[in-house]
């Protein structure tokens, strides 16, 4: 935009509208995927991939990361890195823990129900309010 003091290339209404249409399509797509009843793993992967694409569109075009770059991209990348780091390492811990150190009834490590571990003594751990592990019919 020659009129502004910005030297870089800027996007105009047409491009923003295109991004908006892209976001709507991706939203429709993610709902469609949900309706198709894939397995849990597939659904999680697809839903998060689509969400990441959508977020990428918003960040790159609406939030101008495409044009500004530099430090702002670094800031975004760093915070995302730490997000992944925190989630990843905490999950790594939960996934590999001594199974009874995870919350009772948690799956898929539920091999021996929690009660079985109860020591033969009078004082039991506090009763669980989390209701019985029943599935709806």
């Amino acid at each position: 935009m020659a009129a502004t003091s910005h030297a870089h290339k800027e996007f105009g209404p047409a491009q923003y509208l295109a991004v908006w249409v892209g976001l709507l399509v991706l939203t429709a797509l993610t709902v469609a995927v949900w309706k198709m009843h894939f397995s849990l793993g597939t659904r999680v992967t697809l839903a998060l991939t689509i969400a990441t694409f959508k977020a990428g569109l918003v960040a790159l075009f609406f939030m101008h990361l495409w044009e500004h770059g530099g430090v702002t991209r670094l800031v975004m990348a760093t915070s995302l890195l730490f997000l992944v780091l925190l989630i990843g390492l905490v999950l790594a811990d939960n996934a590999t823990r001594f199974q009874y150190a995870n919350p009772p009834y948690s799956e898929p490590w539920l091999q021996v129900p929690y009660q079985q571990m109860a020591p033969p003594m009078q004082d039991q751990p506090p009763p669980l309010e989390a209701a019985p592990p029943q599935r709806r019919p």
Partner: protein
């Protein structure tokens, strides 16, 4: 440079130029957005852990989410992001009236989002699908189910709070735009307010699949 500085009342004394000041303000905003992302990171981590530990509980509970309302809200927020992006564009062109109008539309979208969210909350309250010890929904019980609603209310609640704050910020920006504070050379507050609003949208883009579709 000094002459330009004297001509622009928006320039603080310790910056060499308006451009440098805008650069600083934008960087400050981005750092602030980073803190927001890490704020939500805690909740996303909690979600990841409990979803991992209670996959069936979460799957069952998410069947009680209102997908139609959630999807509508997604469209509402995405559209509001478009309007705010356009508002920034016109502010840079010096077209304050268009800026004000687009900001007003954005705020209206924000309000619509909150109203729809309110309907959802109302339904969950009536059904007793509530966090932790308040959970008393008859139709579903099992490990992890109440944790789903705990996280649902915490995350959408905090996000809703951000929507409210964002509406406040945009209102303030709109008032300033209407007053004629912005011009081709200076429209930083519009851009910063817009960045904040986009972040709110960004977070919702992830909340929607996590709570409604998985």
């Amino acid at each position: 440079m000094p002459t330009e500085a004297a001509a622009t009342p928006q320039l603080a004394h310790h910056f060499p130029s308006l451009e440098a000041q805008e650069h600083a303000a934008r960087m400050g905003m981005w750092l602030f957005l980073a803190t927001e992302i890490l704020l939500f990171t805690v909740l996303f981590t909690a979600y990841a852990v409990y979803r991992f530990l209670f996959p069936t509980g979460f799957e069952d509970a998410s069947k009680f989410a209102h997908v139609a309302l959630g999807a509508t809200n997604t469209v509402v927020l995405i559209t509001s992001s478009l309007t705010v992006a356009l508002a920034i564009y016109y502010a840079r062109q010096g077209e304050s009236r268009k800026t004000v109008a687009l900001l007003a539309v954005t705020i209206a979208f924000g309000a619509a989002f909150l109203v729809l969210k309110g309907f959802e909350y109302h339904d969950h309250f009536v059904e007793g699908q509530l966090p932790g010890r308040y959970y008393h929904f008859e139709g579903l019980s099992g490990p992890g189910v109440s944790m789903y609603f705990t996280l649902y209310f915490l995350m959408t609640g905090l996000h809703g709070l951000h929507v409210v704050v964002g509406m406040g910020v945009l209102t303030w920006v709109a008032v300033r735009a209407a007053r004629g504070d912005f011009s081709r050379s200076y429209s930083t507050p519009v851009e910063l307010g817009g960045l904040y609003w986009h972040l709110v949208d960004l977070i919702w883009i992830f909340l929607f699949p996590l709570f409604y579709l998985l």
